[in-house]
Protein backbone atom coordinates (compact mmCIF):
# COMPACT_ATOMS: atom_id res chain seq x y z
CA UNK A 1 0.00 0.00 0.00
CA UNK A 2 1.50 3.30 -0.98
CA UNK A 3 2.64 5.40 1.94
CA UNK A 4 0.62 8.61 1.53
CA UNK A 5 2.42 10.07 4.47
CA UNK A 6 5.69 10.35 2.53
CA UNK A 7 4.45 13.57 0.90
CA UNK A 8 3.81 15.03 4.35
CA UNK A 9 7.15 14.18 5.93
CA UNK A 10 10.64 15.61 5.79
CA UNK A 11 13.99 13.94 6.41
CA UNK A 12 16.08 14.97 9.40
CA UNK A 13 19.70 13.91 9.67
CA UNK A 14 21.34 12.91 12.92
CA UNK A 15 24.88 11.66 13.60
CA UNK A 16 25.19 7.89 13.16
CA UNK A 17 26.58 7.30 16.70
CA UNK A 18 23.47 9.03 18.06
CA UNK A 19 21.24 6.90 15.84
CA UNK A 20 22.99 3.73 17.06
CA UNK A 21 22.57 4.84 20.69
CA UNK A 22 18.87 5.50 20.16
CA UNK A 23 18.47 2.06 18.61
CA UNK A 24 19.96 0.55 21.76
CA UNK A 25 17.67 2.66 23.93
CA UNK A 26 14.46 1.54 22.25
CA UNK A 27 15.39 -2.15 22.11
CA UNK A 28 12.75 -4.13 23.96
CA UNK A 29 10.38 -1.18 24.16
CA UNK A 30 7.17 -0.58 22.24
CA UNK A 31 8.89 1.72 19.73
CA UNK A 32 9.22 0.01 16.36
CA UNK A 33 11.86 2.34 14.98
CA UNK A 34 14.15 5.20 15.88
CA UNK A 35 11.96 7.39 13.71
CA UNK A 36 8.88 6.51 15.74
CA UNK A 37 10.75 7.22 18.98
CA UNK A 38 12.15 10.53 17.74
CA UNK A 39 8.69 11.69 16.63
CA UNK A 40 7.30 10.79 20.04
CA UNK A 41 9.98 12.75 21.90
CA UNK A 42 9.92 15.75 19.61
CA UNK A 43 6.13 16.01 19.66
CA UNK A 44 6.21 16.12 23.45
CA UNK A 45 8.88 18.81 23.46
CA UNK A 46 7.10 20.88 20.84
CA UNK A 47 3.84 20.70 22.80
CA UNK A 48 5.31 22.44 25.87
CA UNK A 49 4.54 26.17 25.98
CA UNK A 50 7.27 28.66 26.93
CA UNK A 51 8.06 28.70 30.65
CA UNK A 52 6.85 25.19 31.21
CA UNK A 53 10.34 23.99 31.96
CA UNK A 54 10.06 25.88 35.22
CA UNK A 55 7.97 23.15 36.71
CA UNK A 56 6.72 20.36 34.42
CA UNK A 57 4.22 19.23 37.05
CA UNK A 58 2.49 22.64 37.16
CA UNK A 59 -0.62 23.13 35.09
CA UNK A 60 -1.04 26.16 32.85
CA UNK A 61 -3.50 27.58 35.37
CA UNK A 62 -0.97 27.20 38.18
CA UNK A 63 1.80 28.72 36.06
CA UNK A 64 -0.30 31.72 35.16
CA UNK A 65 -1.42 32.17 38.78
CA UNK A 66 2.23 32.16 39.87
CA UNK A 67 3.19 34.66 37.16
CA UNK A 68 0.26 36.91 38.08
CA UNK A 69 1.22 36.93 41.75
CA UNK A 70 4.85 37.65 40.87
CA UNK A 71 3.70 40.57 38.71
CA UNK A 72 1.44 41.91 41.48
CA UNK A 73 4.32 41.78 43.96
CA UNK A 74 6.72 43.46 41.53
CA UNK A 75 9.04 40.53 41.00
CA UNK A 76 8.13 40.34 37.30
Amino acid sequence: MPDNRSAETVTLKIPRPLYNRLRQLIAGTGFRSVTEFAIYVLRDLAAQPAGRKAEPSMTEVELEAARERLRELGYL
Binding site: G51, E55, L63, Y75
Partner: protein, 385 residues
Protein backbone atom coordinates in the same frame (compact mmCIF):
# COMPACT_ATOMS: atom_id res chain seq x y z
CA UNK B 1 15.26 23.62 36.79
CA UNK B 2 16.51 21.50 39.64
CA UNK B 3 13.92 18.90 40.63
CA UNK B 4 12.45 19.08 44.13
CA UNK B 5 13.71 16.66 46.75
CA UNK B 6 12.05 13.37 45.90
CA UNK B 7 11.37 14.50 42.33
CA UNK B 8 7.93 16.07 42.77
CA UNK B 9 6.81 19.33 44.34
CA UNK B 10 4.21 18.38 46.92
CA UNK B 11 0.98 20.37 46.94
CA UNK B 12 -1.27 19.68 49.90
CA UNK B 13 -3.57 22.67 49.47
CA UNK B 14 -7.26 21.96 48.98
CA UNK B 15 -8.65 23.02 45.59
CA UNK B 16 -10.52 26.34 45.90
CA UNK B 17 -13.79 24.81 44.80
CA UNK B 18 -13.73 22.37 47.72
CA UNK B 19 -12.54 24.74 50.41
CA UNK B 20 -15.81 25.91 51.93
CA UNK B 21 -17.30 22.43 52.08
CA UNK B 22 -14.13 21.01 53.62
CA UNK B 23 -14.01 23.79 56.22
CA UNK B 24 -17.63 23.09 57.20
CA UNK B 25 -16.88 19.38 57.48
CA UNK B 26 -13.79 20.09 59.59
CA UNK B 27 -15.77 22.08 62.15
CA UNK B 28 -16.93 18.89 63.84
CA UNK B 29 -13.50 17.29 64.09
CA UNK B 30 -11.34 17.10 67.21
CA UNK B 31 -8.96 20.07 67.10
CA UNK B 32 -5.21 20.29 67.65
CA UNK B 33 -3.78 23.77 68.11
CA UNK B 34 -0.47 24.45 66.38
CA UNK B 35 2.37 26.31 68.05
CA UNK B 36 4.43 28.82 66.08
CA UNK B 37 6.91 26.26 64.78
CA UNK B 38 4.14 23.87 63.74
CA UNK B 39 2.23 26.71 62.03
CA UNK B 40 5.27 27.51 59.90
CA UNK B 41 5.86 23.83 59.20
CA UNK B 42 2.22 23.38 58.16
CA UNK B 43 2.51 26.14 55.56
CA UNK B 44 5.75 24.73 54.26
CA UNK B 45 4.41 21.18 54.11
CA UNK B 46 1.35 22.37 52.17
CA UNK B 47 3.24 24.40 49.53
CA UNK B 48 5.94 21.81 48.87
CA UNK B 49 8.80 23.60 50.61
CA UNK B 50 9.32 20.39 52.58
CA UNK B 51 8.91 17.99 49.65
CA UNK B 52 8.73 15.00 49.73
CA UNK B 53 6.99 15.29 53.10
CA UNK B 54 3.19 15.33 52.80
CA UNK B 55 2.45 15.87 56.45
CA UNK B 56 3.84 15.75 59.94
CA UNK B 57 6.14 12.76 60.34
CA UNK B 58 4.86 9.40 61.32
CA UNK B 59 6.77 7.20 63.71
CA UNK B 60 8.86 5.35 61.12
CA UNK B 61 10.11 8.50 59.45
CA UNK B 62 10.69 10.24 62.80
CA UNK B 63 12.80 7.43 64.24
CA UNK B 64 14.70 6.97 61.00
CA UNK B 65 15.47 10.69 60.70
CA UNK B 66 16.62 10.94 64.31
CA UNK B 67 18.85 7.89 64.03
CA UNK B 68 20.16 8.08 60.46
CA UNK B 69 19.32 11.47 58.89
CA UNK B 70 17.26 9.63 56.29
CA UNK B 71 13.55 9.06 55.91
CA UNK B 72 12.26 5.51 56.22
CA UNK B 73 12.32 5.30 52.42
CA UNK B 74 16.04 6.12 52.41
CA UNK B 75 15.87 9.73 51.26
CA UNK B 76 18.14 12.20 53.00
CA UNK B 77 16.40 14.25 55.70
CA UNK B 78 18.04 15.60 58.84
CA UNK B 79 15.44 17.32 61.05
CA UNK B 80 12.20 15.80 62.39
CA UNK B 81 9.12 17.72 61.27
CA UNK B 82 6.59 16.80 63.90
CA UNK B 83 3.33 17.80 65.52
CA UNK B 84 3.10 17.46 69.27
CA UNK B 85 -0.05 16.44 71.09
CA UNK B 86 -1.20 19.35 73.25
CA UNK B 87 -3.33 17.48 75.79
CA UNK B 88 -3.60 14.06 77.39
CA UNK B 89 -6.80 13.52 75.42
CA UNK B 90 -4.99 14.11 72.14
CA UNK B 91 -2.47 11.43 73.10
CA UNK B 92 -5.37 9.01 72.99
CA UNK B 93 -6.47 9.94 69.45
CA UNK B 94 -6.86 6.92 67.25
CA UNK B 95 -4.88 6.30 64.06
CA UNK B 96 -7.25 6.34 61.11
CA UNK B 97 -9.17 9.31 62.48
CA UNK B 98 -9.09 12.85 61.15
CA UNK B 99 -8.28 15.96 63.15
CA UNK B 100 -8.51 19.67 62.47
CA UNK B 101 -5.37 21.77 62.91
CA UNK B 102 -5.97 25.26 64.23
CA UNK B 103 -4.05 28.53 64.20
CA UNK B 104 -3.38 31.40 66.60
CA UNK B 105 -7.02 32.50 66.80
CA UNK B 106 -8.43 28.99 66.92
CA UNK B 107 -9.31 29.12 63.23
CA UNK B 108 -9.24 25.83 61.35
CA UNK B 109 -6.33 25.86 58.92
CA UNK B 110 -6.00 22.24 57.88
CA UNK B 111 -7.05 18.69 58.46
CA UNK B 112 -4.74 15.79 59.16
CA UNK B 113 -5.42 12.11 58.56
CA UNK B 114 -3.87 10.55 61.62
CA UNK B 115 -1.57 7.63 60.86
CA UNK B 116 0.42 7.43 64.07
CA UNK B 117 0.29 8.58 67.64
CA UNK B 118 3.61 7.81 69.24
CA UNK B 119 5.61 8.55 72.34
CA UNK B 120 9.15 9.85 72.04
CA UNK B 121 12.19 10.42 74.21
CA UNK B 122 13.05 14.12 74.01
CA UNK B 123 16.44 13.67 75.62
CA UNK B 124 17.34 11.14 72.95
CA UNK B 125 15.99 13.40 70.19
CA UNK B 126 17.97 16.34 71.58
CA UNK B 127 21.18 14.36 71.79
CA UNK B 128 20.89 13.02 68.26
CA UNK B 129 19.51 16.08 66.46
CA UNK B 130 20.93 18.95 68.51
CA UNK B 131 24.04 17.11 69.78
CA UNK B 132 23.25 18.31 73.29
CA UNK B 133 20.76 17.94 76.10
CA UNK B 134 21.88 21.19 77.75
CA UNK B 135 18.79 23.03 78.94
CA UNK B 136 20.40 26.31 77.91
CA UNK B 137 20.18 25.33 74.24
CA UNK B 138 17.08 26.93 72.67
CA UNK B 139 16.27 23.78 70.72
CA UNK B 140 16.37 21.72 73.92
CA UNK B 141 14.16 24.31 75.59
CA UNK B 142 11.65 23.90 72.78
CA UNK B 143 11.59 20.13 73.22
CA UNK B 144 11.14 20.54 76.97
CA UNK B 145 8.14 22.80 76.30
CA UNK B 146 6.16 20.26 74.26
CA UNK B 147 4.59 16.92 75.17
CA UNK B 148 6.64 13.81 74.29
CA UNK B 149 3.88 12.46 72.10
CA UNK B 150 3.67 13.16 68.40
CA UNK B 151 0.83 12.92 65.91
CA UNK B 152 1.79 11.90 62.38
CA UNK B 153 -0.13 11.97 59.14
CA UNK B 154 -0.77 13.67 55.82
CA UNK B 155 -2.17 17.19 55.96
CA UNK B 156 -4.53 19.10 53.71
CA UNK B 157 -4.36 22.87 54.01
CA UNK B 158 -7.78 24.49 53.88
CA UNK B 159 -6.68 28.08 54.43
CA UNK B 160 -3.37 29.80 55.02
CA UNK B 161 -2.53 31.49 58.32
CA UNK B 162 -3.29 35.19 58.07
CA UNK B 163 0.09 36.93 57.73
CA UNK B 164 0.25 40.67 58.27
CA UNK B 165 4.01 40.77 57.94
CA UNK B 166 6.23 40.47 54.86
CA UNK B 167 3.22 39.78 52.60
CA UNK B 168 5.14 41.23 49.67
CA UNK B 169 7.97 38.75 50.19
CA UNK B 170 6.14 35.49 50.88
CA UNK B 171 6.92 33.42 47.78
CA UNK B 172 6.23 29.70 47.71
CA UNK B 173 8.39 27.21 45.82
CA UNK B 174 6.07 27.23 42.79
CA UNK B 175 6.52 30.99 42.57
CA UNK B 176 10.29 31.12 43.07
CA UNK B 177 10.69 28.40 40.44
CA UNK B 178 8.58 30.32 37.93
CA UNK B 179 10.49 33.51 38.80
CA UNK B 180 13.91 31.95 38.29
CA UNK B 181 12.78 30.45 35.00
CA UNK B 182 11.32 33.76 33.82
CA UNK B 183 14.64 35.45 34.60
CA UNK B 184 16.47 32.81 32.58
CA UNK B 185 18.47 31.69 35.61
CA UNK B 186 19.76 28.14 35.65
CA UNK B 187 22.13 28.37 38.61
CA UNK B 188 20.63 30.05 41.65
CA UNK B 189 22.39 30.43 44.96
CA UNK B 190 20.42 30.68 48.20
CA UNK B 191 21.56 32.50 51.33
CA UNK B 192 19.96 31.62 54.64
CA UNK B 193 20.21 33.97 57.60
CA UNK B 194 18.57 34.78 60.92
CA UNK B 195 20.85 37.80 61.43
CA UNK B 196 21.40 41.16 59.79
CA UNK B 197 23.73 40.93 56.81
CA UNK B 198 27.12 42.42 57.54
CA UNK B 199 30.04 42.90 55.13
CA UNK B 200 31.31 39.35 55.66
CA UNK B 201 27.94 37.85 54.69
CA UNK B 202 27.69 40.22 51.74
CA UNK B 203 31.11 39.02 50.61
CA UNK B 204 30.05 35.35 50.69
CA UNK B 205 26.92 36.12 48.72
CA UNK B 206 28.77 38.07 46.06
CA UNK B 207 31.42 35.36 45.73
CA UNK B 208 28.56 32.92 45.18
CA UNK B 209 26.88 35.25 42.70
CA UNK B 210 30.08 35.31 40.63
CA UNK B 211 29.58 31.57 40.09
CA UNK B 212 25.83 31.55 39.50
CA UNK B 213 23.14 33.38 37.58
CA UNK B 214 21.20 34.76 40.52
CA UNK B 215 21.08 35.11 44.28
CA UNK B 216 18.11 34.34 46.50
CA UNK B 217 18.46 36.21 49.79
CA UNK B 218 16.16 34.01 51.85
CA UNK B 219 16.02 35.14 55.47
CA UNK B 220 14.30 32.94 58.02
CA UNK B 221 11.35 34.81 59.50
CA UNK B 222 9.78 32.10 61.66
CA UNK B 223 10.21 31.83 65.41
CA UNK B 224 13.68 32.64 66.71
CA UNK B 225 15.09 33.01 70.20
CA UNK B 226 14.22 36.18 72.05
CA UNK B 227 17.63 37.83 71.75
CA UNK B 228 17.92 37.34 67.98
CA UNK B 229 17.29 40.50 65.97
CA UNK B 230 13.56 40.61 65.17
CA UNK B 231 12.62 39.69 61.62
CA UNK B 232 10.93 43.05 60.98
CA UNK B 233 14.16 44.91 61.79
CA UNK B 234 16.23 42.48 59.76
CA UNK B 235 13.98 42.90 56.73
CA UNK B 236 14.55 46.65 56.83
CA UNK B 237 18.29 45.94 56.85
CA UNK B 238 18.02 43.53 53.92
CA UNK B 239 15.94 45.98 51.90
CA UNK B 240 18.34 48.88 52.35
CA UNK B 241 21.35 46.68 51.66
CA UNK B 242 19.93 45.21 48.47
CA UNK B 243 18.69 48.62 47.31
CA UNK B 244 22.13 50.19 47.63
CA UNK B 245 24.69 47.46 47.11
CA UNK B 246 23.27 44.54 45.11
CA UNK B 247 22.49 44.24 41.37
CA UNK B 248 18.71 44.34 41.08
CA UNK B 249 18.60 42.06 38.06
CA UNK B 250 20.59 39.36 39.84
CA UNK B 251 19.07 39.37 43.34
CA UNK B 252 15.74 38.24 44.74
CA UNK B 253 14.65 38.86 48.32
CA UNK B 254 12.00 36.52 49.66
CA UNK B 255 11.29 35.12 53.12
CA UNK B 256 11.75 31.60 54.46
CA UNK B 257 8.88 30.99 56.88
CA UNK B 258 10.51 28.26 58.96
CA UNK B 259 11.19 28.41 62.66
CA UNK B 260 14.79 28.19 63.76
CA UNK B 261 15.92 24.93 65.34
CA UNK B 262 19.52 25.99 66.23
CA UNK B 263 20.58 22.47 65.25
CA UNK B 264 23.81 23.52 63.58
CA UNK B 265 25.04 20.84 61.16
CA UNK B 266 21.76 18.95 60.84
CA UNK B 267 19.96 22.19 60.19
CA UNK B 268 22.44 23.09 57.45
CA UNK B 269 21.36 19.94 55.59
CA UNK B 270 17.70 20.77 56.27
CA UNK B 271 18.12 24.33 55.03
CA UNK B 272 19.90 23.13 51.90
CA UNK B 273 17.24 20.54 51.01
CA UNK B 274 14.40 23.02 51.44
CA UNK B 275 16.14 25.62 49.25
CA UNK B 276 16.41 22.95 46.57
CA UNK B 277 12.63 22.74 46.74
CA UNK B 278 12.51 26.49 46.13
CA UNK B 279 14.46 25.91 42.92
CA UNK B 280 17.96 26.80 44.08
CA UNK B 281 20.96 24.89 42.77
CA UNK B 282 23.55 26.17 45.23
CA UNK B 283 23.47 26.95 48.94
CA UNK B 284 25.89 29.05 50.97
CA UNK B 285 27.16 27.41 54.16
CA UNK B 286 29.28 29.76 56.23
CA UNK B 287 30.91 29.33 59.59
CA UNK B 288 28.76 27.83 62.36
CA UNK B 289 25.68 27.63 60.15
CA UNK B 290 22.50 27.53 62.27
CA UNK B 291 24.65 27.38 65.36
CA UNK B 292 24.21 28.88 68.78
CA UNK B 293 26.68 29.42 71.60
CA UNK B 294 29.53 26.93 71.29
CA UNK B 295 27.54 23.74 70.84
CA UNK B 296 28.96 23.02 67.41
CA UNK B 297 32.42 23.19 65.88
CA UNK B 298 32.94 26.19 63.64
CA UNK B 299 32.86 24.09 60.47
CA UNK B 300 30.81 21.09 61.58
CA UNK B 301 28.08 22.31 59.23
CA UNK B 302 30.52 21.84 56.34
CA UNK B 303 31.75 18.41 57.39
CA UNK B 304 28.26 16.93 57.76
CA UNK B 305 27.75 17.14 53.99
CA UNK B 306 30.49 14.49 53.69
CA UNK B 307 28.16 12.03 55.42
CA UNK B 308 25.92 12.01 52.34
CA UNK B 309 26.51 11.04 48.73
CA UNK B 310 26.40 14.33 46.77
CA UNK B 311 23.53 12.98 44.71
CA UNK B 312 21.43 12.49 47.83
CA UNK B 313 21.49 16.18 48.68
CA UNK B 314 21.28 17.38 45.10
CA UNK B 315 21.89 21.05 45.83
CA UNK B 316 25.54 22.10 45.77
CA UNK B 317 26.84 23.52 49.04
CA UNK B 318 29.26 26.43 48.77
CA UNK B 319 31.44 26.33 51.87
CA UNK B 320 32.90 29.56 53.15
CA UNK B 321 35.33 30.14 55.96
CA UNK B 322 35.52 33.10 58.30
CA UNK B 323 35.42 36.31 56.21
CA UNK B 324 36.55 39.84 57.10
CA UNK B 325 38.04 43.03 55.66
CA UNK B 326 41.82 42.85 55.51
CA UNK B 327 43.62 46.21 55.58
CA UNK B 328 46.71 44.72 53.96
CA UNK B 329 44.72 43.00 51.18
CA UNK B 330 42.65 46.16 50.90
CA UNK B 331 39.52 44.08 50.38
CA UNK B 332 37.15 41.55 51.86
CA UNK B 333 38.84 38.17 52.19
CA UNK B 334 38.64 34.98 54.19
CA UNK B 335 40.98 32.69 56.08
CA UNK B 336 41.30 30.79 52.79
CA UNK B 337 42.34 33.76 50.69
CA UNK B 338 44.17 36.10 53.05
CA UNK B 339 47.79 35.44 54.10
CA UNK B 340 47.95 38.29 56.64
CA UNK B 341 47.81 38.15 60.44
CA UNK B 342 44.65 38.80 62.47
CA UNK B 343 45.87 42.27 63.41
CA UNK B 344 45.22 43.36 59.82
CA UNK B 345 41.62 42.14 59.90
CA UNK B 346 38.64 44.28 60.78
CA UNK B 347 36.75 41.99 63.10
CA UNK B 348 34.32 42.69 65.92
CA UNK B 349 32.74 40.17 68.25
CA UNK B 350 28.97 39.99 68.37
CA UNK B 351 29.07 41.42 71.88
CA UNK B 352 31.19 44.39 70.79
CA UNK B 353 28.90 45.09 67.82
CA UNK B 354 25.83 45.08 70.07
CA UNK B 355 27.56 47.41 72.54
CA UNK B 356 28.46 49.87 69.78
CA UNK B 357 24.99 49.82 68.26
CA UNK B 358 23.33 50.21 71.65
CA UNK B 359 25.54 53.25 72.25
CA UNK B 360 24.53 54.71 68.91
CA UNK B 361 28.00 54.17 67.52
CA UNK B 362 28.46 53.06 63.90
CA UNK B 363 30.72 50.03 63.52
CA UNK B 364 33.46 50.48 60.92
CA UNK B 365 32.05 50.46 57.36
CA UNK B 366 34.41 47.57 56.62
CA UNK B 367 32.33 45.54 59.08
CA UNK B 368 28.81 46.81 58.47
CA UNK B 369 27.27 49.03 55.85
CA UNK B 370 26.33 52.32 57.57
CA UNK B 371 22.76 52.15 56.26
CA UNK B 372 22.32 48.78 57.99
CA UNK B 373 23.94 50.01 61.19
CA UNK B 374 21.61 53.04 61.28
CA UNK B 375 18.58 50.77 61.19
CA UNK B 376 19.97 48.56 63.95
CA UNK B 377 20.80 51.58 66.11
CA UNK B 378 17.30 52.99 65.63
CA UNK B 379 15.71 49.67 66.53
CA UNK B 380 17.75 49.40 69.72
CA UNK B 381 16.76 52.91 70.71
CA UNK B 382 13.16 52.04 70.01
CA UNK B 383 13.49 49.00 72.28
CA UNK B 384 12.81 46.63 69.44
CA UNK B 385 16.33 45.15 69.37
Amino acid sequence: MIPPHGGKLVDRTVPKAEREARLRAAASLPQVALNERELADLEMLACGAMSPLEGFMGEADYRSVVATMHLANGMAWSIPVVLSAKTKEQEALKPGSRVALTGREGEILAVMDLENVYRVDHAHEAQEVLRTTDAAHPGVQYLQSIRPCYLGGAITLLQKPNHQDFARYRLEPKETRVLFSAKGWERICAFQTRNPIHRAHEYLQKCALELTDGLLVHPLVGETKSDDTPAAVRMQCYEVLLENYYPKDRTVLSVFPAAMRYAGPREAIFHALLRKNYGCTHFIVGRDHAGVGSYYGTYDAHYIFNEFDPGEIGITPLFFDHAFFCRKCGSMASTKTCPHPKEEHVFLSGTKVREMLAAGELPPPEFTRPEVAQILIASMRGGKG
